[in-house]
C-alpha cells in the first residue's frame, strides 16, 4: 500500500467529526487526519501560525471542507487557498449538507476539486467517506510538498 496522505478535516460539528473519524478508522485511513473546527483555524494550519506555528512543513494531501463554519466560512477558506500561489495546488473537497445549487456553483467557480453532499443514510455516508479517504489519501498522487506518512 502506498503512503497515507495527510487529510485536513475542516468541520465544526463534533458529531460529524466523530462519525467521519470513526469511519476513517474502520478502514485504517485515520492516522494522518488533522481536525480544525472553523475556517480561521484551518487557515492557521495551512499558514503554520497560531496553534500550528510549530508544526512541521508541508501541505495536506487533501482538505475535506465543510461550508457552514464559524468565523471564516468554507467558501472564504476555499477562495483564500485557491488565490494563494503556495496553497492553490492543494486538492479541496467540499463536504457539506447543502444541496443548494448556488453553493455548488460558487465552489466550482472558486476552483474546488470535488463537491460531495453528505448522505443522510448511514451506509451511503460511510461509503462516501471511505471512498473519499481511499481516493484522496491513497490513490491520488498529491502535488509536490504534500505530507505523507512514511
Amino acid at each position: 500500500m502506498s503512503a497515507l496522505g495527510r487529510i485536513l478535516l475542516v468541520e465544526d460539528d463534533p458529531k460529524d467529526i466523530e462519525l467521519i473519524i470513526t469511519t476513517l478508522e474502520e478502514y485504517n485511513l485515520a492516522n494522518e487526519v488533522v481536525v480544525t473546527s472553523d475556517g480561521e483555524e484551518a487557515l492557521d494550519y495551512l499558514y503554520r501560525r497560531g496553534n500550528f506555528a510549530t508544526r512541521s512543513n508541508g501541505n495536506p494531501a487533501v482538505l475535506l471542507l465543510d461550508l457552514k463554519l464559524p468565523k471564516v466560512d468554507g467558501l472564504e477558506v476555499l477562495q483564500q487557498i485557491k488565490s494563494d500561489e503556495k496553497l492553490r495546488l492543494i486538492p479541496v473537497v467540499v463536504l457539506t449538507s447543502s444541496h443548494e445549487e448556488r453553493d455548488m456553483v460558487a465552489s466550482y467557480r472558486l476552483g474546488v476539486n470535488a463537491y460531495v453532499v453528505k448522505p443522510v443514510d448511514f451506509f451511503e455516508f460511510v461509503n462516501a467517506i471511505k471512498k473519499l479517504g481511499v481516493f484522496w489519501a491513497i490513490i491520488n498522487e498529491p502535488p509536490p510538498g504534500s505530507i505523507k506518512a512514511t
Binding site: 460539528d13 458529531k15 460529524d16 462519525l19 470513526t22 449538507s97 447543502s98 444541496h99 443548494e100 445549487e101 453528505k118 448522505p119 443522510v120 443514510d121 448511514f122 451506509f123 455516508f125
Partner: protein, 277 residues
C-alpha cells in the same frame, strides 16, 4: 372594495352633468387604480411565496444534519452493542433506524418539491417518448420480478423542462407500479389522450387498488395519503410534485379512480409562453 365604493360615490354626481370625455377619463383613472392595486397584490403574493419556499428549504436543509447523526450513531450502536441487547431492544434499535430513514425520505421529497417551486424552468423541446423510456428504466429496477403488462403508446415531443417532466413521469409510473402490487398481471398503460397545437394531455392508467372519488381532492395535497403506510409506503409528496410541475407548464393534474378498479392520472402541458409561472 374601496375603489368600488369610491366609484359609486363619484359617479352619481359626475355622470349627469359631464360629457363623454370626462366619463372616459374617469374610467381610465379607475382602471389605472385597479391595475396598481393588482400589481401591488401580485408583488405581495410573490414575496410571501418566496419566503415560504425559503422557509421550507431551510427547514429541510437544517433537519438533515441531526438526522444523519441519529441514523449514524444508532447504526454504530447496533453494530457495537448487538451482543448485549436482548431481542426486544434490538427491535427498538431497528425501529429507530426505520424512522430515521422515513424522515430522511420525507425531507428529500420535501426538498425536491420545494426546489420545483423555486428554480427557474429550463424549457426546450423534449421527446416525451424518450422521457417515458428513461422513467420506465428507473422504475422497473424497483419492480423486479413482478408480472406487469406495459402498454406504451407514442407520445409527442413537447416544449418543457426536461428534468421536471421526467420527475413527473417517474412519480406517476412508480405510483402505478406501487398500487398494482396486489395484481398479477398488473396492467399499466401510458399514453397521450389529447394533442392540440397548444396543449397535450398525458395519462397513466393502471388496474390497481384505485381510490374513492370522494377523496380525489386530497390526492394532490402535500403529505396527503389515502392508504396506510403499512400497505403502501410513500411520503405523500409525489402527486403534489406532479401537480406543481404541471402548473409550471401552464397545465394541471387530475385523476379518476374506483376502489379496487384501478386509477388513471392525467397531466396537461400547455405550449403558451405565459406558462412560465
Amino acid at each position: 372594495m374601496v375603489v368600488a365604493a369610491r366609484r359609486a360615490g363619484a359617479a352619481a354626481a359626475i355622470l349627469e352633468t359631464n360629457n363623454d370625455i370626462t366619463e372616459r377619463q374617469r374610467r381610465e383613472q379607475e382602471i389605472r387604480t385597479l391595475n396598481e392595486e393588482l400589481e401591488k397584490r401580485t408583488a405581495e403574493l410573490e414575496a410571501i411565496n418566496k419566503e415560504l419556499e425559503a422557509f421550507a428549504y431551510s427547514i429541510s436543509h437544517d433537519l438533515r444534519a441531526p438526522l444523519r447523526h441519529m441514523a449514524g450513531f444508532t447504526q454504530l450502536l447496533k453494530k457495537n452493542a448487538a451482543s448485549l441487547l436482548n431481542e426486544k431492544s434490538q427491535r427498538y434499535v431497528t425501529m429507530i433506524l426505520e424512522s430515521t430513514q422515513r424522515m430522511g425520505n420525507l425531507i428529500d421529497d420535501l426538498l425536491a418539491f420545494s426546489r420545483i417551486g423555486r428554480t427557474e424552468t429550463n424549457k426546450t423541446m423534449v421527446s416525451l417518448d424518450q422521457l417515458v423510456e428513461e422513467a420506465l428504466t428507473e422504475v422497473r429496477q424497483d419492480a423486479g420480478g413482478r408480472n406487469i403488462v406495459w402498454r406504451v403508446a407514442g407520445l409527442p415531443a413537447w416544449y418543457g423542462d426536461r428534468s421536471m417532466l421526467r420527475l413527473a413521469l417517474v412519480n406517476l409510473i412508480s405510483n402505478a407500479v406501487k398500487f398494482t402490487r396486489t395484481r398479477s398481471p398488473a396492467e399499466i398503460e401510458i399514453g397521450c389522450m389529447k394533442q392540440e397545437p397548444d396543449q397535450v394531455v398525458v395519462f397513466i392508467r393502471d388496474n390497481g387498488v384505485g381510490f374513492d372519488m370522494k377523496y380525489v381532492n386530497k390526492l394532490f395535497g402535500v403529505f396527503q395519503r389515502l392508504h396506510p403506510t403499512e400497505a403502501f409506503e410513500g411520503t405523500g409528496i409525489g402527486l403534489a410534485t406532479v401537480q406543481r410541475i404541471a402548473h409550471r407548464h401552464g397545465g394541471k393534474a387530475w385523476a379518476e379512480g374506483l376502489v379496487d378498479k384501478g386509477a388513471t392520472f392525467y397531466f396537461s402541458l400547455s405550449k403558451s409562453p405565459e406558462s412560465n409561472l
